[in-house]
Symmetry: C2
């Protein structure tokens, strides 16, 4: 049996794979930079980042710089562990001969 | 920029990753065996296999063995190429330091 149940449905979408990939290697990245790195719309990023935050994979910091709001993201410990598990399951599934 | 657009949305779901992974290494697998290998329901497999067939990634053979219908699947050339491209994009995205 091939254990696709080990793949985490929360990370299925390519946008979420992209967000997590970036935040696994960088702490506190701004919304605007994430959006540009992934080349996606505001709405698309907000929706997927919101889902990841809701599942406690991301932590979010909202602050003001002068009068401009700034939103930044970082992975939580749960997010890091869950994404590592997901990658391990992906490798196991896709790495078979 | 991280090119998540190279990831193929048709292969996002873990069920489709599972179906394609099996059919990349085996020709003509029966519906019943695929279902057992992936440990999913009839409806779930039928829905995702149907979507892959519609996009011409899979070819389907329907026949009768005695009075019992038998459905078998194999990847098409397009399916093989598209999935290989998807895996390459995944590796590129997730393999970064």
């Amino acid at each position: 049996m091939i254990n696709i149940q080990l793949l985490n449905k929360d990370f299925e979408s390519r946008v979420r794979l992209g967000i997590m990939s970036i935040l696994m290697v960088r702490d506190w990245v701004e919304f605007k930079e994430l959006k540009e790195l992934l080349d996606i719309t505001d709405g698309n990023l907000a929706s997927h980042a919101g889902a990841l935050e809701k599942n406690q994979y991301l932590q979010v910091r909202k602050e003001f710089v002068g009068k401009k709001p700034r939103t930044t993201y970082a992975v939580t410990q749960l997010g890091r562990k869950s994404f590592q598990d997901h990658l391990a399951a992906l490798e196991k599934l896709l790495g078979q001969p």
